[in-house]
Subunit: 349 residues, 2 copies
């Protein structure tokens, strides 16, 4: 519904594989001293010097992870980078480089890929990362984006999932569930559009949650904030699959349990009203919705004063001994076992 049918269309075979890579990446500049050699050789050459290198990779598949009927290509490029940077920040690291590999069917003209790379370029610029490599090829169906992100971090600063201790506080950044409710709104409007293509949806009441779905931001600011506050989390993970799934990862890797307090889970007012509209439960949406790209971490209780009152950070629970298990403490003060109902591309439609 957002597609402009009148755009110029240059078929990809006109450029060939090398021509295409050159064309799409020619405006990318190398900024980091650690990027010794970027695109243009058999491999990129990096030098993270006395820092450790962190490395993460994510695959986004059309029809599984994104729907181009409402996802503008520029946003998609931006989001694909965010998804990866979020993992780098979850290690408490500075993101420095990405590679972008792309498989596209011949239904995409050059101009579509230019839009996609505009989004990638914008993400690289705002988050100060260098595009140093990739691969571009045709697919037999649809679009697939595989991004690898690298970062650097001093050994002492690395936050693994495994460092949480009993009695540590559980902290989440921002608010949860917005991306998932944005997805619900976009899917509904897509169905309306199918019935009546002339209907222009008014998405303005939903702008916050739609933007959280279409153009999420990775929390680089939190890595800076924690450094400024003098707080090193005992464990950290990013929230891509829903809060409950991520809590269970931290608990399992750290060999602890967790009490999560329902009334502490931060929800934006738009999420609450949209949940009411869709007859969904806000807590369930936060627990299982996914794609928030917020950070979830644990801190020693002695660090509580340092984070107290910061509008970016909410204490939502505390870790316990492993044998106490993982529980949601509801508003009615009953304890329900936490189960992972995160997104699974092999079973969800």
């Amino acid at each position: 519904m957002l597609e402009d049918k009148n755009k110029a269309r240059t078929p990809l075979e006109k450029l060939g594989e090398f021509g295409l890579i050159d064309h799409l990446t020619k405006n990318f500049k190398i900024n980091h001293p650690s990027s010794v050699k970027g695109i243009g050789d058999d491999a990129a050459v990096l030098d993270h010097s006395d820092k450790k290198t962190v490395l993460t990779t994510d695959l986004l598949v059309e029809g599984v992870h994104f729907d181009l009927s409402y996802m503008p290509l520029k946003h998609l490029g931006y989001k694909a980078v965010m998804v990866n940077l979020s993992d780098v920040y979850a290690m408490n690291a500075k993101a420095t480089q990405i590679t972008v590999s792309l498989a596209v069917s011949n239904r995409f003209p050059l101009e579509a890929l230019e839009e996609l790379y505009e989004g990638i370029a914008l993400a690289c610029k705002i988050y100060d990362v260098d595009l140093v490599g990739g691969d571009t090829t045709s697919s037999t169906k649809g679009m697939l984006i595989s991004i690898t992100a690298l970062g650097e971090v001093a050994e002492a600063d690395i936050t693994y999932r495994s460092g949480a201790q009993a009695n540590d506080l559980l902290v989440v950044t921002g608010d949860l569930g917005a991306a998932y409710m944005g997805f619900q709104v976009l899917e509904r409007e897509k169905e309306v559009f199918k019935v009546n293509p002339n209907n222009q949806p008014d998405l303005s009441p939903y702008s916050y949650i739609v933007e959280r779905q279409l153009k999420p931001e990775a929390r680089r600011d939190i890595v800076h904030l924690l450094k400024k506050l003098g707080v090193k989390p005992t464990s950290m993970i990013d929230i891509s699959d829903g809060l409950s799934s991520e809590i269970l990862h931290l608990s399992k890797c750290s060999k602890v349990g967790c009490n999560l307090f329902e009334d502490k889970i931060p929800l934006d007012p738009t999420v609450i009203t949209t949940c009411e509209e869709f007859k969904m439960d806000g807590t369930m949406v936060a627990l299982s919705g996914g794609e928030d790209y917020e950070l979830l971490f644990t801190i020693d209780q002695k660090d509580f004063d340092k984070i107290k009152g910061n509008p970016n950070l909410t204490v939502i629970g505390h870790m316990t001994e492993a044998n106490e298990g993982n529980h949601l403490v509801t508003r009615a003060n009953t304890k329900i076992p936490l189960t992972a109902q995160g997104w699974n591309s092999f079973t969800n439609d």
Copy 2:
């Protein structure tokens, strides 16, 4: 034609995304001291210490880069790793880590992915690289493999594409064109099989070239050999798209020209006989066939005595001033301009 229809079939949704990754990677061991943390956190953590990190990525798409009607999945896994390691070795580096991302449609049972990962595991074992990350998701059609490979190399040892000088010798490893002729034989047998599924092809006369297509080896041995011989190439590239395309990359990046001598191009006898059978020209196949995964490099003439007579290395030409251009000197001693006719996934069927 190589598929066993009676195998056990476990649907992927039974395991879910995390269960699948755990299951497929549980037997992979971390061997390199530079792999500080492998699979199991938001990102892997690496430490290449005082060495530089090299980084390369390749995407393989079913129906574009491979055909599962004759490519066994174990070989595919092995080959997908080789394609990437070849780029690491072309930097004169030691390969140390890979990540593997996989998108598969629900037509693949768990057992198919186990076979694929057996091939990946074998490649990791033989080539001494650690699997440190990846992503696994569903696709709407077919299989797609995205691998990123990392390596380490002392700054002084890096071989870029850009260091060749006029009068340097042009050297190739092994022999060329075999993988392409193996592909021709497999495609022919596939057509025969379509007509008569009971016909069992006798591929034994073609075993060398079929193996070069289905299970190529990256030339780690050459990196070791060059070190032992005390030769540092002035430039190096791996041969994935055909000799002529790679020569033109070296010439362009190094701002030189090249004379390539047709009678020096190393062809295996099986390639020569199969070319005769298919009425193809061996030189054309070597120039444009691709998928050889040999190394092409230039050396200073003073190093010639060090490589002379080595059965792995063949001098096939020499670099010239840029204004002399890039030429093939034929057996009849005529000069033909070299043009890149390497493989292009956007135009080739």
